[in-house]
């Protein structure tokens, strides 16, 4: 198997923050909005360098989404950022009406997603956001895996015309994808080619999936490992080709099993190429307080959980 290494761990939110700072200097029509969490979503440099284009609305997420939609009428590209929990479910109707249905070029930037927000507990752990967002017609949903990829994704969505939900997180995770990579919306990234089992991972689960694949390969299991950074539009060709090749599938995500990447893959395969599938996801429960690592382990969202899921699905072929 191809060897993946990293020199440092970095948080994906900093990838977003460094990209938004860069966009502030390269695109005059980019405006940045946040709701009293400037530092947490790494918008501090943008705010300092472009105070006229930075809007801290206070603790007003609904107003922020409406304002973002309004800015597009004046040819601006608004990037609105706060915690994933508060920029998805809390403002779902606003996103539905004035962003998605109104076809506005708003970038919804969701930080601190998933269990890895950690000690704050379930109130702050968005595990349903990917499902809600992928159900909105026309919404692009992106969940990159590390700092470099989040930075590349942020730059890429500025050049895409239309609503986007970009999800990233708080913890420092291995930064292993290429610096200055080209990010193609909707195009899955093949990390390893194999013939026995397909592992589709997104976001923070991609690195643990690499670790699980290394263990499986060491045991002689050939793994087709694919990073699905774009939940919607799903790269159907990549999923189908892999499933046809291996005949067994594992999906991995820091999200509720209901409504997540796994369901998107299952829905595609059920219609086009029925395939046994194991789901590495949170199984329809809320999270809780703890460190990010502790929580990922407890809920089985780690290399060991992915390894076991692969072993299980291999018996179903």
């Amino acid at each position: 198997m191809k060897k993946y290494t990293y020199t440092d761990k970095k948080d994906t939110r900093s990838g977003f923050g460094d990209a938004i700072t860069q966009l502030g200097n390269t695109k005059e029509n980019v405006v940045a909005l946040t709701a009293d969490v400037t530092g947490s979503v790494k918008m501090g440099d943008f705010a300092k360098q472009h105070p006229d284009r930075f809007f801290n609305v206070g603790i007003q997420e609904a107003n922020m989404i409406g304002m973002a939609a309004g800015f597009t009428l004046e040819n601006k590209i608004p990037f609105a950022a706060t915690f994933a929990e508060f920029i998805s479910g809390r403002v779902y109707d606003q996103i539905r009406q004035v962003v998605a249905y109104s076809e506005k070029n708003v970038k919804i930037c969701a930080s601190h997603a998933g269990l890895t927000v950690g000690e704050d507990g379930a109130t702050h752990q968005a595990l349903e956001d990917l499902g809600m967002m992928k159900m909105l017609p026309g919404m692009v949903v992106i969940n990159p895996c590390d700092y470099n990829q989040t930075k590349a994704a942020t730059l890429a969505i500025a050049d895409y015309q239309g609503p986007v939900y970009l999800r990233f997180g708080r913890p420092k995770v291995p930064n292993f994808t290429p610096e200055n990579q080209k990010f193609e919306i909707g195009k899955a990234v093949v990390l390893n080619e194999g013939i026995d089992v397909s592992i589709f991972a997104t976001g923070h689960l991609v690195w643990p999936a690499i670790e699980a694949a290394e263990r499986l390969e060491a045991e002689g299991v050939s793994v087709d490992l694919i990073n699905i950074h774009t939940i919607k539009p799903l790269d159907k060709t990549a999923v189908l080709n892999s499933a046809k090749k291996t005949g067994a599938v594992v999906s991995c995500e820091e999200h509720n099993r209901l409504g997540g990447l796994g369901e998107s893959i299952a829905g595609l395969l059920a219609a086009e190429h029925p395939t046994p599938q194991a789901f590495v996801a949170v199984n329809d429960v809320f999270g809780e307080s703890g460190t990010g690592d502790e929580l990922m382990r407890k809920y089985g969202l780690d290399a060991d959980g992915i390894y076991k899921a692969a072993k299980k699905v291999l018996t179903q072929k």
Binding site: G58, Q60, M67, L73, N75, Q97, V98, Y101, S102, E103
Partner: protein, 283 residues
């Protein structure tokens, strides 16, 4: 007056004919608030707004922008847009029909000229207007942003987020009008959930307030909106309390909240049309 070939006073009666005919034809829609705001729409679109219907684009740079926040009053909105030249008045006959661009509530998705944002789920238009207004400031565009809200709509919390923001940040290129008719679906606003002293509330949030005491008198509405316009650019947003009567212009509908979302039957339509001169010709 912008429309030089027609007298502005001819519009209200014709728009009211359009409203009752549209709603009767499809047996669906919201005539009450539509009838009550005819003078506002006439004043705004035929006197106040600097707009280019022939060159409409979904973005609003370089012209005044109107955001309808209480999206259910599409009959008056669509009639006014058509009569102002955004699309052919014949298309009013498709209102709420399968395949129409004239959706039950305003839609961008269907490409109707004049519509720049969807509304219908209440309480969101003022936030959108704040984005437009601040965008105009970034663009050094002196044009203004106008909104319309129902008074019942002010029960939505998001409205007060936006009111707080606009006052605190001094968004002064914005005129928000409230259709102050004291009527909503379930009864009077006072009975359902009173707004209390609305003027004092706006003023406490650092807004300037203009009252238009007879919002169904065209000249009074024009004068009131022009006064509101004169208050822009002074560091504070402007609220207009437009005192209207729901169902205005038709004797058996006027002042009755039950006409919020109820269509007229054949007999009622005939009675209504008999009270409304055909000033410009029906669609």
């Amino acid at each position: 007056m912008i429309m030089s070939d027609k007298n502005i006073e001819e519009y209200p009666s014709q728009i009211r004919r359009d409203i009752v005919r549209m709603v009767h034809d499809v047996q669906s829609g919201h005539p009450g608030g539509s009838l009550g705001t005819v003078e506002f729409f006439t004043a705004l679109f035929f006197e106040l707004l600097d707009i280019n219907p022939e060159k409409f684009t979904v973005n609003s740079t370089g012209e005044d922008t109107f955001i309808l926040s209480n999206g259910h009053i599409t009959p008056v909105y669509y009639s006014t847009l058509a009569r102002r030249g955004y699309f052919d008045i014949k298309e009013l006959a498709t209102f709420r029909r399968l395949g129409t661009r004239l959706q039950g509530h305003p839609s961008v998705h269907d490409g109707l000229p004049g519509i720049r944002i969807a509304s219908g789920s209440l309480g969101q238009g003022l936030s959108v207007a704040l984005g437009v207004a601040q965008g105009k400031k970034l663009n050094n565009d002196p044009h203004l942003v106008y909104t319309l809200h129902g008074d019942g709509e002010l029960q939505e919390g998001q409205i007060w987020e936006a009111v707080l923001y606009a006052g605190a940040k001094g968004v002064d290129n914005l005129i928000a009008t409230v259709d102050y008719n004291n009527a909503q679906i379930d009864g009077t606003v006072d009975d359902v959930l009173s707004l209390g002293n609305l003027q004092a509330k706006f003023e406490a949030f650092n807004w300037q307030v203009v009252n238009i005491n007879n919002g169904n008198n065209l000249q009074e509405v024009i004068d009131g909106l022009k006064h509101a316009k004169s208050l822009t650019g002074k560091g504070r947003p402007v609220a207009v309390l437009l005192h209207t009567k729901m169902g205005y212009g038709i004797d058996f509908m006027q002042g009755d909240y039950r006409w919020h979302g109820k269509p007229l039957n054949d007999e009622q339509l005939a009675k209504a049309l008999a009270q409304l001169p055909k000033t410009l010709g029906d669609y």
